[in-house]
């Protein structure tokens, strides 16, 4: 491993430990570092991904963890924190991405698109990501825990157990929250937000 890479990894690990032990400012320095890597990976992932052949979000995040943080003396709490940060960042990345796609799509006129441009115009998924993000904001106003469950699972790609571990609640509670949040969100998304509040 090169020295630079070791430093970047070491830095993330150090900040994670500092934040875990209560240093709130560590998070401000940590976020951009993780964002950088995650953003690149997510974008490339989407650019090269092929139908029916997808790598999983968790695999991507775990690979990132292995690369940036997996040094000796790391605790499982650190991994939980890291996954939680990734989920939050992934939400931001995907929403930004979806917004940019939407504007691109609107801006593009009819007629033949250049090959590469044409390949990037896409379907409903971005629309839904934006709608879910908006609805999540409403949900977190009166039930922040359920909003977190959705963030971790939908944006972070995390399983029930991991989500439970991060939020320090039982897996059963995660499932219950997940069910309730989903039905509330789907109504919100499908009805264009008229139920909010």
């Amino acid at each position: 491993m090169s020295s630079q890479e070791g430093d970047a990894g070491g830095e993330v690990a150090r900040l994670l430990t500092a934040w875990s032990s209560g240093d709130e400012t560590a998070l401000d320095r940590l976020m951009p570092l993780v964002y950088q890597e995650l953003h690149q990976r997510a974008e490339r992932y989407m650019a090269y991904e092929q139908p029916g052949h997808t790598l999983q979000t968790t695999a991507l995040v775990n690979e990132l963890y292995l690369r940036l943080v997996d040094l000796p003396r790391q605790t499982w709490q650190n991994r939980s924190h890291f996954l939680a940060i990734c989920a939050q960042l992934m939400r931001r990345i995907l929403v930004d991405f979806a917004r940019s796609r939407r504007s691109q799509k609107r801006g593009g006129g009819p007629g033949q698109l250049p090959l590469n441009e044409a390949l990037t115009v896409c379907s409903e998924a971005p629309q839904e990501i934006i709608a879910v993000d908006d609805a999540l904001k409403s949900l977190s106003a009166f039930d922040p825990r359920k909003a977190r469950v959705v963030e971790l699972r939908f944006f972070g790609g995390l399983g029930v157990e991991e989500t439970a571990e991060i939020l320090k609640i039982s897996p059963e509670t995660v499932m219950r929250d997940w069910k309730m949040a989903k039905v509330w969100l789907i109504r919100e998304v499908r009805s264009g937000g008229k139920h909010a509040g």
Partner: protein
């Protein structure tokens, strides 16, 4: 929203959603009295009940990526055909990699075919990267060498940002496909390796570094020539991202270097596995870096696996920097020591210790080749002298001596049981991972991965309804994912399965890969899928054997099928260039099977082997337990199951066996005679899978039989206490009836090698024969209503099978005595039956096929067939007894295929009808409840066997769920109405292996 109110909404929602829809209203009426707002809130949430299950189920990133990819694929397909770019006309897309899309195109000026590579988005817009690409490609295009794919031009289409590279169009396959995860023969290996070395030598002479030498970038033309692709341009996208990363953030400059390419699993793996340590570290590369990658390619050719193969790219990077490769000889003992030395020297971590230049490694490989040729020449000379001079016998012996080398190690086959599951938890299917380290299997509780080293077993998390529907498992060649053939929850049909991808490395929900097909299997390069599609209804338009490209989604039919022939068990050839399958033809009761190979490059299919090559009466492909019956090992042996007598004898007497036949690489037919590997009388096997080295064969060994199950009825027939297996023998037992006192069950069984009738008390564990002396081949004993006779049917004792023999209805006094014939029916009479009412004073009824109907007659134990009572039109012929006589003998009921029960009054010969709850429209067998009110029935509905109770009004309650593997039939309540007996299938099924195979 107020917290209190929200909590209340949540509580009510969870409570309501668990209720059946009919009961929700009542519940909510009560719970929301006087609060209409609350009520409408809950109702509006419940309205999304159906939609919500799929909502947010796959993570956002995957959804976004997949939809992008689909958009891309659709666009590419659209834009492709006939489109003109510069002076080229696109013909078809031939590939897609991390770098971009490649099309076959026609040069409209020079009238030749070229390969056009369009660069991945992003790269096209990066001016500086483009300039660099031009520079490099120009340098590379100056390389004029027979083993380097020529670059004709670097051009740009009319639209901005559409740069392309025009290259020589080649016909053949990549080295990756040629290796196909198995060691190459030495002769072929050296021939290819020397050409690669020569190409590298030429490039180094011109000071050009390739940067991405890997099997996928080495092409073997059909003429046998090696061509290295993408010289000088292979790794450009990577460097771009390194620079972008550097500009964005100094901290991550180095981390970006190699990850630039590395996102989709395929691209990561394909690229990282062959990188040199200096490349992994992001250092400057030179000629010796290419030599390291070449060493890794040589290693893979010699062993079938890349030297630093690990589960994730990150682990691979670490291995490349820190781990010594396993000596190739320890994986493939055939590797000559000198070649091992060459490979390990090329793979030195420190470039100072590697070969200095391509020329040195080429010289070393040449020496090896010369030595091999000298050795072969000696053998050939000896052989030709012997053939000239000696008698044929000596020549044959000599030939044996020369040829026995490989054969000898195969003589000791060891069969070993891997899983040891009891019948209650039988194994459905199993498959060994390509590296031989992990066995994936599913049983009645879930899907599991077992480490073959430690025996440690871990469950793969799956949605509960999903795991019940898996029919067959296989591994993707990458060893990180499983392909599961699964029944659909919404459509029944043997070949209307869904194919799902299940990750074995992360706990994520399965992903749908393909719909409405069966017997799916992934190609050795992981890029394509082979499957069978059956007739949809009566239309054969799409039926047959298909392959599909997993990326573009394009499908191609290899063989179409008609009515009396079909295809099964497609398997890929080790090089991925052909599909072997079983071609089955039926004519009446005659079945002819053959193993055929269809080359994917076109041309006619070839027959590898037909039933004629096996001992008389033995059929290729044993369909008696289901599952795939073929496997093709990496060393070109096809393993297949066979059976003798399954279609003629009683299934329990059939002989099942497992065979192998060698095929020649390139499958020019069978290379030799089939050899029997294993042989069983009672067990059948299927689902053969191999380890990548071809040394171990795994398969599922199963046996299935019917048993009588017994349950106590409770809660007014709407519930049964857990049913228990009542007959504990494993030779099969068919339910006949009850004794009048409800204390014992009569059944017929093959357990004594004859077919006899047994009686077993409810609290007893063993049965006794009903008759003394016993009958020889008889079944279905019922007691007449006056309790003085047993009626049963008997088959001609000496006949080899029941279809060809006459069959008789017999009677014996219940107090004992000699058997007497009531009547005899001609051979081949099928679907005839009889029943007697259980109440004193009732009567017996028999059914006989007449044309397409099943005629119902009165039956007298002494006089035989009586007056005709009526007929069942178009009975459900899959079951021998689709009708039932009421306990008092006054009514006959049968279930139609469309959800009705028709009831015939014996006295006035009139029919009446009951409409059954429409969800249960296909009733297989039916029986009156003991009180004459309502029915018990079995039904096959949406891939599930169910035992149900039907009220006189047609309402249905499910009593027992048999799933898709446990066939249920013949429910029969005890005369006192306290118990319900029925037949169900019991399985004994486990994974076995053959070693030293």
């Amino acid at each position: 929203m107020q917290a209190e109110r929200w909590r209340r909404i949540e509580e009510l929602y969870h409570a309501a959603v668990q209720l059946e829809e009919g009961r929700r209203r009542c519940f909510l009426d009560e719970a929301c009295t006087d609060d209409d707002a609350l009520r409408s809130e809950i109702d509006s949430l419940l309205a999304y009940d159906r939609e919500v299950s799929g909502f947010l189920e796959s993570p956002a990133l995957e959804r976004a990526a997949e939809s992008l990819a689909r958009g891309r694929a659709a666009m590419e397909a659209d834009l492709c055909a006939g489109r003109a770019v510069s002076h080229y006309k696109l013909v078809e897309r031939i590939g897609r990699g991390g770098m971009g899309v490649v099309y076959k195109a026609e040069d409209t000026i020079l009238h030749r075919f070229v390969a056009l590579k369009f660069l991945t988005e992003g790269l096209g817009r990066d001016r500086r990267a483009l300039a660099r690409l031009r520079r490099e490609a120009r340098a590379a295009s100056a390389l004029d060498h027979p083993n380097i794919c020529t670059i004709y031009e670097i051009g740009e289409g009319e639209q901005e940002g559409e740069p392309f590279i025009a290259m020589q169009f080649l016909d053949g396959q990549t080295l990756k496909q040629a290796i196909g995860n198995q060691p190459m023969r030495m002769e072929r290996l050296l021939g290819i390796a020397i050409q690669i070395a020569e190409a590298l030598e030429a490039a180094q002479g011109a000071n050009i570094v390739h940067r991405d030498i890997k099997p996928a970038n080495i092409f073997l033309t059909s003429a046998g020539q090696v061509k290295i692709l993408d010289f000088g341009i292979a790794k450009l996208p990577m460097q771009r991202s390194a620079r972008v990363a550097a500009a964005d953030s100094p901290q991550t400059a180095a981390t970006g270097t190699d990850s630039g390419y590395a996102t989709s699993a395929g691209a990561v793996v394909g690229t990282v596995a062959y990188m040199s340590p200096e490349q992994v570290r992001g250092e400057e590369l030179d000629a010796r870096s290419d030599l390291f990658s070449f060493g890794a390619v040589l290693y893979e050719m010699a062993t079938g696996v890349p030297p630093f193969w690990r589960e994730s790219p990150e682990l691979m990077r670490r291995a490349i920097q820190n781990d010594s490769p396993r000596p190739p000889k320890s994986i493939n003992p055939q590797v000559p020591a000198e070649l091992e030395t060459v490979i390990l020297k090329a793979l030195e971590k420190n470039r100072e210790r590697r070969y200095r230049c391509a020329r040195d490694i080429r010289a070393a490989l040449r020496r090896l080749e010369e030595r091999r040729q000298r050795r072969m020449g000696r053998v050939q000379r000896v052989l030709s002298v012997v053939l000239l001079l000696a008698t044929p016998i000596v020549a044959a012996a000599m030939f044996w001596w020369v040829a026995r080398d490989g054969a000898e190690s195969r003589t000791q086959l060891v069969e070993r049981q891997i899983t040891a599951h009891p019948p209650e938890d039988f194994v459905g299917s199993g498959a060994i991972s390509p590296d031989g380290k992990t066995l994936a299997y599913h049983d009645q509780t879930g899907l599991y991965l077992r480490s073959m080293d430690s025996g440690e077993t871990r469950a793969v998390a799956l949605p509960p309804d999903f795991r019940d529907r898996i029919t067959e498992l296989s591994w993707f060649p990458d060893g990180g994912r499983l392909l599961a053939n699964t029944l659909r929850p919404d459509i029944s049909g043997a070949c209307r399965l869904d194919l799902w991808t299940i990750s074995t490395t992360s706990q994520t929900t399965p992903r749908l890969l393909w719909r409405d097909v069966c017997e799916g299997t992934i190609s050795p390069d992981g890029q394509s899928l082979a499957f069978v599609r059956d007739s949809q209804g009566s239309s054969y338009e799409l039926a047959g054997l298909w392959i599909a490209d997993l990326h573009g989604g394009r499908e191609r039919r290899l063989r179409g099928r008609g009515g009396s022939e079909w295809f099964s068990s497609p398997v890929w050839s080790p090089d991925g260039r052909g599909i072997a399958y079983v071609h089955m033809r039926t004519e009446g009761r005659r079945v002819d099977n053959a193993i055929e190979v269809q080359p994917l490059t076109g041309g006619p299919f070839e027959t590898v082997l037909s039933d004629a090559a096996l001992p008389k009466g033995t059929l290729v492909c044993d369909m008696s337990v289901g599952g795939r019956c073929l496997g093709w090992s990496t060393d070109w042996r096809i393993v297949f199951s066979a059976n003798a007598g399954f279609y003629d004898l009683r299934p329990a007497d059939a002989e099942h066996s497992l065979w192998e036949v060698s095929t020649q690489p390139g499958w020019a037919g069978a290379a030799g005679k089939p050899r029997r590997l294993a042989h069983w009388i009672d067990f059948a096997c299927g689902n053969p899978t191999f380890t990548r080295d071809g040394k171990r064969l795994f398969f599922v060994r199963s046996k299935t039989w019917s048993d009588v199950y017994l349950a106590e009825l409770a809660a007014g027939k709407t519930r049964i206490e857990p049913a228990r297996r009542f007959t504990l023998d494993n030779r099969g037992s068919d339910l006949s009836g009850w004794t009048f006192d409800s204390q014992a069950i009569l059944f017929s069984s093959d357990r004594t090698a004859k077919r006899e009738i047994f009686k077993q008390g409810l609290s007893e564990g063993t049965a006794t024969t009903l008759f003394a002396p016993p009958c020889q081949a008889c079944e279905k004993a019922v007691v007449t209503p006056d309790r003085s006779w047993f009626l049963y049917r008997e088959f001609e004792h000496a006949a080899p099978n029941e279809f060809a023999a006459p069959v008789r209805l017999m009677r014996r006094r219940t107090k004992g005595g000699t058997p007497e014939k009531v009547f005899e029916l001609p051979p081949g009479t099928w679907h005839w039956s009889y029943e007697c009412g259980v109440k004193a004073g009732s009567s017996c009824v028999m059914s006989l096929p007449e044309g397409t109907d099943l005629a119902l007659y009165a039956l007298d134990p002494l006089r035989g067939k009586g007056a005709k009572l009526g007929a069942i039109n178009n009975p459900n012929v899959s079951e021998p007894e689709p009708w039932s006589l009421s306990p008092d003998g006054s009514r006959i009921a049968y279930g139609t295929n469309d959800g009705r029960i028709r009831v015939l009054s014996v006295r006035d010969r009139t029919w009446s009808e009951i409409s059954v709850d429409t969800r249960w429209e296909s009733l297989a067998t039916i029986a009156w409840a003991a009180d004459g009110k309502g029915f018990f029935a079995t039904c096959w509905l949406l891939n599930s066997n169910d035992l149900i109770y039907i009220t006189p009004a047609g309402a249905v309650t499910r009593l027992w769920h048999g799933g898709h593997r446990q066939w249920l039939t013949n429910p029969l309540p005890s005369p006192d109405g306290k118990y319900l007996a029925f037949e169900a299938e019991t399985w004994d099924s486990n994974v076995w292996t053959i070693e030293n195979f």
